[in-house]
């Protein structure tokens, strides 16, 4: 009987330690882990959602030396010290850019590969919540998350622990914010 309860306690402990919400509490924030990104910054999209424009607006408000190029290509990385990628699929956005989903994926793969090759660190900022999850978004989310050095995610987009799992898998640090304006603080910390 005692052995059974001991096993139960152990099992609870093991499952608690792997519980995403608790694991997240232990994750270091940008300030704690001392990670820094440098400027100038190229901000681009992965999936052509207009979320990238909102990140651009926040960067402007923070007075970051940043340039938004929704359709950035490898050559746009020249002189850049950081690449911010805002993942999220939008059919309207693809229409606005006049490209297909396949074209967009190829563009993002090329951009990410070029950044890796030139050792330009990638910061992923996912602000679109549910609207930029699952469906056609997750392929972009996963690609960017796996190639980033740091992830800032608005909580609604991580309700199922999707980014927490990716963070555990890759060791890439994840910091969440309750709402979109809340991503400005971690962004600021990373560039200070």
């Amino acid at each position: 009987m005692r052995r059974v309860s001991m096993i139960a306690v152990l099992m609870i402990m093991v499952s608690l330690s792997s519980f995403p919400a608790l694991a997240q509490d232990k994750a270091e924030t940008a300030a704690e882990c001392g990670m820094k990104f440098a400027q100038p910054v190229l901000i681009s999209s992965a999936g052509q959602s207009a979320d990238v424009k909102l990140v651009g607006m926040m960067a402007k408000r923070m007075k970051l030396k940043a340039e938004v190029k929704v359709m950035a290509k490898p050559e746009d990385l020249e002189g850049m010290k950081t690449l911010i990628v805002v993942p999220g699929f939008s059919a309207k956005g693809l229409g606005a850019a006049g490209i297909s989903q396949k074209d967009e994926m190829e563009r993002v793969v090329a951009l990410v590969e070029a950044a890796n090759k030139q050792e330009i660190p990638i910061l992923m900022i996912h602000i679109g919540g549910n609207a930029r999850r699952k469906g056609q978004s997750d392929a972009f989310n996963e690609l960017v998350a796996k190639n980033s050095k740091y992830m800032i995610v608005v909580e609604q987009g991580n309700e199922d622990g999707f980014f927490t799992e990716l963070s555990k898998e890759t060791g890439v640090k994840l910091e969440t914010a309750e709402k979109i304006p809340g991503t400005m603080k971690p962004m600021k910390n990373l560039f200070e």
């Binding site: 207009a50 926040m58 939008s90 309207k92 229409g95 606005a96 006049g98 609207a131 699952k134």
Partner: protein, 376 residues
């Protein structure tokens, strides 16, 4: 004997057919009576779409236009409800605004029933109700629930392929009756194209600066809880969305594709000087997964089938556990409308100041009925 029996059954069938025809005929005719609205004391004048394009005179779509003009000069805003008459919150928000608003600076123009013809019918095969009711402190107020498209009685037949003018874009034939595929419209086109033309003429002649086209969509449609904007209005849209986020109202920014024609957010922006915004909320009765289809579903927005879909996690849908009630959909539209205008003002444009409109939380708590007249 057998002959008599035959006569009796024939007579019964005839009488039954006549009774059914009379009942349904009366119901059908009733949908042609215009709804009554009760504009706020801020109303300064009314007009009709035919004031801008005489070709609409005498048609079902000679919609009424309401003007609210401030004492101080400023910019002009247009609010369009009922582009798609099956998107209840759209028409309801326009009514709520016109029955409350006071304008102190600038002007607001409201067209609550943009495609009036669509309010006289329902979409076939959908089992949609003809009306829905909003409870108010002084009794129920009934509104027409209509079709996405212009009535086939007003525009028939549909071509096999709808060729949009002037772009030449080709869509399914029925889209020829979709007002939001008809812009910029044509004076010598179909009734839907004429309606679109009239609205564009109004935007031009009244020098409208900011225009809103309100919509709803099925929870599984990807463009939902979104503001679709023309590229020239991007800064206004992003600033508004940022403010909305601060208040905890999530809105997806969506840039209008330049190659998708006939839509308000594209053609209003391309053919006039206006900043166009199209806004969407989630309306379960429009969705393919809904079960029982009733007027309650329009108002309460509770669908066990969508809840199952949500819990399965297999779909990307805009449906909350508690449903998508009309209060929240209306509150969203009203708040997005206000924040876009505020962002426009803050960016140094000639302002428009609207007063006496309820806040998001007010509408959630008090219900839509607290802000509309009970009616008769």
């Amino acid at each position: 004997m057998t002959l008599e029996k035959k006569h009796i059954s024939a007579a019964i069938i005839l009488i039954a057919a006549a009774v059914i025809s009379i009942i349904t005929g009366r119901q059908f005719l009733a949908k042609h009576y215009p709804e009554t609205f009760y504009p706020s004391p801020g109303l300064t004048r009314t007009g009709k779409l035919s004031d801008y394009f005489s070709g609409l005179q005498g048609t079902e779509n000679d919609s009424r236009v309401y003007f609210f003009e401030g004492e101080e000069e400023g910019s002009t805003v247009l609010l369009l409800g009922g582009t798609h008459p099956n998107e209840a919150a759209s028409g309801l928000v326009a009514v709520l605004v016109l029955e409350n608003v006071e304008v102190t600076v600038g002007r607001l123009i409201v067209i609550p029933r943009a495609n009036r013809s669509g309010f006289t019918v329902n979409d076939p095969m959908e089992a949609h109700p003809q009306y829905y009711s909003i409870p108010t402190p002084n009794g129920e107020r009934r509104f027409k629930y209509g079709s996405r498209l212009t009535s086939p009685l007003d525009q028939w037949p549909d071509p096999l392929v709808y060729s949009h003018r002037p772009s030449g874009q080709r869509l399914s034939g029925f889209e020829t009756r979709n007002l939001n595929r008809a812009y910029p419209g044509r004076p010598d086109g179909s009734l839907t194209e004429k309606t679109a033309y009239g609205i564009v003429q109004l935007i031009k002649k009244e020098n409208v600066n900011v225009a809103f086209d309100l919509h709803e969509a099925a929870p599984e449609i990807p463009i939902i809880n979104a503001i679709v904007y023309h590229e020239k209005a991007e800064e206004v849209a992003l600033n508004a969305i940022f403010e909305l986020e601060m208040e905890g109202i999530s809105v997806s920014p969506e840039l209008s594709p330049s190659n998708f024609h006939g839509l308000s957010h594209r053609e209003w922006g391309d053919y006039t000087d206006v900043y166009p915004f199209l806004m969407e909320t989630s309306n379960p009765i429009q969705g393919r997964l809904r079960g029982e289809t009733s007027a309650e579903l329009i108002v309460e927005g509770v669908s066990p089938e969508y809840r199952m879909a949500l819990e399965s996690g297999a779909l990307q849908i805009a449906y909350k556990e508690t449903g998508e009630p009309i209060e929240r959909r209306v509150a969203r539209h009203v708040t997005c409308f206000r924040r876009v205008i505020e962002a426009y003002n803050q960016l140094g444009n000639k302002p428009v100041i609207l007063e006496n409109l309820p806040e998001y939380e007010d509408i959630l708590q008090n219900g839509v009925g607290a802000y509309i007249v009970a009616g008769k």
